[in-house]
Symmetry: C2
Subunit: 475 residues, 2 copies
């Protein structure tokens, strides 16, 4: 691999490092020519398809059904829920078709509440129709002023689930189930550490009663919101007429939740949290290739070694294995390239290894090499993959460390990226104190769902503290 | 199931029957409020997800890689290939964002050649980069004047593959591979019969050299184009600068193909070809539920029977099985509803069956019932599914029957839906004869790839015949 193909800066220069990795590791091409619209290259799409699959499996298991609602949303739908209509400045509008000027403007979905709920109003009749739980795996479109690959885009990939219930308590149970889905996929499968907060009232989704969101700490010391689920109360149901007849035939207004799984944001965290100076490091669950076998031989003497590689690959077929047979590239080039791409494990197979029935296994994360007998290779690979997963998990967890701070001074001198402190309120009357924190770059991310009891006073205003909150820098 | 929930017309009244089936069998909701933009309900999405998966597996096996290119295409890209720009009247335009009037107009992709090929021009450098084979599974947007669910829409679902080669002969090999993919998925997995034609020159894709397309005959006697693959020659490569250096370092213009798999159109054929008076009939490969088990019991005596159903389902877990436990619905209601939804096999389990260790298996397609021992149930179900698949395949094949006609009179009196005849030419000079056929409602669909030799004269103009062509009514 040539100098120019590899990453030319250390990860400590995070911003430039990130820009290089997303392009050089074959994830995106940023040269399409419309700001915030990226070309997703095969390596990214193969990871993204796995991410979608992991979430969709969990959604299917929890009684959600796949749907697809139109991309275009009539302007009047968007206006129906007053607070939600604050989305309008972020919306792309279709106004013409062919040579016609359209009578109405249509929004490209910035999120699909206003596309879906008019249909829910038609579908929901009786308590027997509830819960109604649907999701769609789509791109959404927002006219963002600044953009950055996988973090903030004008076209970004996610899954949105929209659920309807007979009661507020059922809706709140759903919020907990959504958090469980995140734990299973993002935590247990991907190894990313995150904290799920109930956002303060001044930072909730437009139109929601409450927003719960998962924050994953990034190496540059800012939190990345990778998923969020919203208690919509009856706000949208009232605006769109999502009503049901209860068991006594009385008309009732339904309760709703909406859950966004930020496929793009999770990609950003996978890149940023696990990557290193050499490029991507992918967790085994989503690595398009888990094991790359690199044959090592002198020009013209490859046949026997490659035959061995094919045998080895056959014995490893429960993993995603690839043999790099390119004759025109050197082993060194291949090592570097697969490291850049984040392939979890590399197996080197030379003439000596072939003769001795041994293989050298190299871990992508630590670079450590172990030698295994060929016949034990499957077990050895499984063990290394598990070690790598746990190593990555540990790495992510470390970023999430939290210190407690009791005064503005302690907050300003805190050494961890999350800071736990006490605040007068997470309702609107606490916003003044939050603004003061914002002046020093810190955002109030919210409270934990397992509510912690505050003792004493607000670290900012000194009034009685009603909440234990977490602070962090944000994007 | 109430009268109103079931299909109220016979399939012989095809148009109304089709409209009812796509809605009543839970596939789409047509009440969204923008013409040609449908809501895809869970039953449709579960089938569609399988269709995508079947094609994506074949694409992966044939060296294609997944990608995702932006929805928006700058107007100037669209204009680059002159003939292709004829798409403009079919395009939706984004012209505003937030409160800004955009400086340029952006098209919603009507198809993605003009989004993808500028990037290919950057990606392709050397013959070593070829072949380049990518696909994307997306919706495309066309401002169609008339729309009909799954047949013609303003937002429709497909897969598009875009391939680049060093030579025309490699490109033509790809066309054959594309046809093979259709045969494997649409023919061998879904049981839909179709004919693959080389379209006459006056009916090719805008900007292509030649178009090859799969026509599936519909019960209303019109062909449905379910897939097409285009030999783009060097037209787009020239317009977009997709060049490569050959082994002697000489700059060469690349050769391209593009292959569209019409997921929506295939849905239309599945509904129309296999359905019957009672509703959908789904081929086993894509049925979201292959076996529904309906417990039959007197009020309050269900426990034992349901326990038996659970055991039975366990023994059938290599199929997609569902137990319909709804207590408030009668078995008759359930039978009708699952028939409407096209579930392949129904198993009835009553107290007697439970006691005797026997089950009654009902086929959706013929309604035939067989009794099997519970312990042999897995084998019996597998056999019935296979019989159903072959029965459906036969049904589709019958629609495709073809008669040969040698004169305009014979053409007008032909009894089959495809008519084989001889034409002076399938180049532009044959278009006059094609227009005469169009006056009687018949379209020249094209020639077979295994070219048949004509003997004698054109059935229309009487000049020397150069082609054996197939005629059919079309949408």
């Amino acid at each position: 691999m040539s100098e120019e193909m590899g990453i030319t800066v250390k990860k400590t220069e995070f911003s430039e490092w990130y820009t290089q990795v997303v392009q050089k590791a074959g994830l995106v091409d940023t040269r399409y020519g419309i700001q915030g619209f990226l070309v997703h290259r095969p390596w990214a799409m193969r990871i993204i398809k796995r991410l979608y699959q992991l979430f969709e499996e969990e959604l299917d298991c929890t009684g959600h059904e796949p749907t697809l609602f139109p991309l275009l949303i009539p302007e009047e739908n968007l206006k129906k829920e007053e607070e939600h209509f604050q989305f309008a400045p972020e919306v792309f509008w279709v106004t013409e078709a062919g040579s016609d000027k359209l009578e109405k403007r249509y929004a490209l979905r910035p999120t699909s509440e206003t596309a879906i709920y008019p249909m829910y109003a038609l579908w929901v009749r009786s308590y027997r129709d509830l819960p109604l739980k649907c999701y769609q795996s789509v791109s959404v479109y927002r006219y963002e002023p600044t953009t950055r690959p996988f973090l903030r885009g004008r076209e970004f990939l996610w899954i949105e689930a929209h659920d309807v219930f007979v009661s507020h308590s059922k809706a709140l149970e759903q919020i907990k189930q959504d958090m469980g889905i995140c734990e299973k996929v993002i935590g247990d499968k991907l190894g990313l550490s995150f904290k799920f907060f109930k956002r303060p009232k001044w930072d909730k989704f437009k139109g929601a009663e409450d927003t719960y969101a998962a924050d994953c700490m990034m190496p540059e010391g800012r939190v990345n919101q990778i998923a969020s689920t919203h208690d919509l109360g009856q706000n949208f149901a009232r605006a769109f007429g999502v009503n049901y007849k209860d068991e006594s035939e009385r008309e009732q207004v339904a309760w709703q939740t909406t859950f966004g799984m930020g496929i793009w944001r999770i990609m950003a965290s996978l890149v940023a949290v696990f990557g290193d100076d050499k490029g991507l490091v992918l967790p085994p669950e989503v690595a398009p290739i888990q094991v790359v076998i690199v044959p090592i031989y002198r020009k013209g003497e490859g046949e026997e070694v490659i035959k061995k590689c094919v045998q080895l690959a056959e014995s490893l077929k429960k993993f995603r294995v690839h043999i790099d047979k390119r004759d025109e590239k050197t082993p060194g080039f291949k090592f570097n390239e697969w490291e850049l791409f984040g392939v979890t494990i590399r197996i080197e197979m030379g003439k000596r290894e072939a003769n001795e029935g041994k293989v050298t296994i190299a871990r992508r994360d630590t670079g450590e090499k172990t030698v295994a007998l060929e016949k034990d290779c499957e077990t050895a690979v499984a063990k290394e993959l598990s070690l790598i997963f746990h190593g990555l998990k540990e790495k992510s967890l470390k970023l999430s460390s939290t210190a407690e701070a009791k005064t503005m001074d302690e907050i300003m001198n805190a050494k961890t990226l999350f800071i736990k402190t006490q605040l007068c309120s997470s309702n609107m009357d606490g916003e003044e104190c939050a603004k003061k924190l914002k002046e020093i770059g810190l955002h109030v991310r919210g409270t934990l769902l397992d509510r912690e009891n505050p003792k004493g006073t607000c670290s900012i205003c000194g009034k009685k503290a009603n909440e234990v909150v977490y602070l962090a820098r944000a994007y």
